[in-house]
Amino acid sequence: MFYDLNIPLPEAAGKAGGHVSSQEWAQIAQTVEQARVLGYSVVALNLTLQGKLAPEHLSVWNTTPEFKNAQLSWDRATGARVGGATRSVGRGKIRVLRRLTAVIGDATQGHSLASVDGAYDIVAVQPTNDAMLLAACNGTWDAVDIVALDMGQRWNFVAKQKVVTQALALGVSLEIMYQPALAGEKTRQQWVSNAAAVVRATRGRSVIWTSAARRALDLRAPYDIANLGEVLQLNGDLSKRALAANARAALMHAFTRSSTLRAVIAPKHSAADEPEGLAKKARMAS
């Protein structure tokens, strides 16, 4: 299975009181459908927020429309998460997850991520300086599955191998988003430099490819990404791993962190907790 763990919601949705309009949802739905056609089995809709997480950030998901040929990891009516981490959704369908990316400039913002626990399928942090990168990688914040770095902008820090190795040891993945590689010349140049730095620091391990595609045309097929990886000396095997096994590992890391007791005991979701079961419960209650 191929995964794309970053289909971003509009930037305005990440602000306090932000929401996603029906037109924007329609564009996201089109992107998800295109991802399904290209061969992806699991995608994650990514809410990026600046600053501390607040409960009203969850209200963004209240207006989620119905996606064609997709199965959401949350109930549209209640917003509650349903199902297991890597449950198969059957042929021709795509699984849609929820992801939160917190842009962290201050250590206290990272601690608020603990309150997310259970609401999102994946939690990522985007550090803005050396200290935050170190904090993201060394386990200061428990609720981190992915370290996201802005690939299109010049960093004011260096992704050192010693720092990144700590993240890899904790099972935290590093993300390379390829949308900036499709942008203008200067952004592309910066992307090559940044992505190469990530590959150098991680030696190609625990890297995940994501699209950060705001529209369907920004998506690329998995084998195109494998070819793009050759530019970064990520051979086809490592690139495919970054799209499949590593992404699955990030998902399992998130599931283990949020839904299990010390990675030993996990609650078994009954049929009543499936989306259809929840709808039936709502009908019977009314």
Binding site: F2, A196, V231, N235, K240
Partner: protein
């Protein structure tokens, strides 16, 4: 890009081409083994001067079937005794990708389940970690021998039946070929719901085609000198161009656009026949035997399915950035010689 990045070396990151010279009268029958041990074939192209190739192909190659079945149907004792034991049944799940989905196949004897980690962890059947992807633990292969231990009274059968019904209980679309064991000719597959599919046949005549003379050094020796290797590469290149009906070998290309020249060319009227569908290895072997008996030089190209779980000799096969598992043969019957070229993709255990 800097070359000092110490990325791990990969053993299986290159396609390979194996070239074998075999004698048609040899007891080893290497050229025959190559054909008969490659069960999942989807296209054959024969290039020959003979005008009866199409009729020869029609004698042995025929229809196959599209059918939707549950996996547990294949282990049903009635199915095994009526179909698996009587003739050769080849089945491959359709519209499934070996590197992304769960793929199921029957190679005539075994039910092969090539499944991802999630499916394997819930399936509850013993399998082995797949060699590909190279990082172990992301794909697993479960093989169930349909000719052995499929007795409903035995615990093994009951366990397999229960687990397939519990986990892999959704109907799966299959391409099914049902062939006579000895000749490979198609036999009626009368499962309810099976849709018959006729293979697609294309015939093309190329007058004055530039055909290379098979170099004497390729026919007479196996010694792999630089010259031998170069001649083998040239012949394989020509076969590839001929099967795609390239203008370069038809003698109609422009010197400005194509720098390719046929080595030691002879002008001959050739016929290129291509059949696409699910093709029996035994049928391909029967066709080739008949063409060899006609004592004319001919060339054969056979392509395997990219998403087949096995290639030659039940070797594990997967899809890297290509899933090639094809072979080409050049027959020179008047010298009792056959040159075989086996092309394996990077992720093929045969290599």
């Amino acid at each position: 890009m800097s070359s000092h990045i110490p990325l791990p070396k990969e053993k299986h990151n290159k396609s390979k081409l194996f070239v074998t010279r075999s004698h048609l009268l040899s007891k080893k029958h290497e050229h025959s083994k190559l054909i008969q041990t490659h069960p999942f074939n989807h296209q054959i192209t024969i290039i020959s001067q003979s005008t009866t190739v199409r009729e020869t192909l029609a004698k042995y190659i025929g229809p196959y079937y599209n059918v939707t079945l549950k996996l547990s149907d294949f282990i049903d004792p009635a199915f095994i005794s009526n179909y698996i034991k009587r003739n050769t049944l080849i089945a491959l799940s359709s519209n499934r990708y070996i590197d992304a989905d769960d793929v199921f196949a029957i190679d005539g004897q075994k039910l092969i389940l090539s499944v991802g980690k999630d499916t394997y962890e819930t399936l509850g059947l013993v399998g082995k970690s797949a060699q590909f992807p190279v990082e172990r633990g992301s794909r697993f292969v479960v093989e169930i021998d349909l000719l052995d231990c499929m007795d409903p009274a035995k615990k093994y059968y009951q366990r397999v039946h229960n687990r397939l019904n519990a986990v892999l209980n959704e109907p799966v679309e299959f391409l099914v070929g049902y062939f006579d064991k000895n000749t490979g000719t198609p036999v009626t597959f009368d499962i309810p719901g099976a849709t018959i599919v006729t293979p697609q046949v294309d015939t093309r005549s190329v007058p004055n085609m530039l055909v290379p003379n098979v170099p004497e050094c390729l026919i007479s020796t196996n010694e792999q000198t630089d010259t031998w290797t170069e001649h083998a590469h040239e012949l394989f290149e020509w076969i590839g161009l001929a099967t795609s009906c390239s203008q370069a070998v038809a003698g109609t290309s422009d010197e400005q656009t194509s720098a390719y020249t046929v080595p030691e060319p002879t002008s001959k009227d050739m016929h290129i026949v291509t059949v696409r569908g699910l093709l029996s290895a035994t049928a391909i072997h029967s066709v080739i035997n008949e063409l060899v008996a006609a004592h004319t030089e001919f060339y054969v190209c056979v392509w395997g399915f990219d998403d087949a779980p096995v290639s030659w000799n039940s070797s594990e096969h997967n899809f890297y950035v290509s899933g090639e598992n094809m072979y080409a043969q050049a027959y020179v019957p008047h010298k009792n010689c056959c040159l075989s070229f086996q092309a394996c993709g990077p992720w093929d255990a045969f290599s």
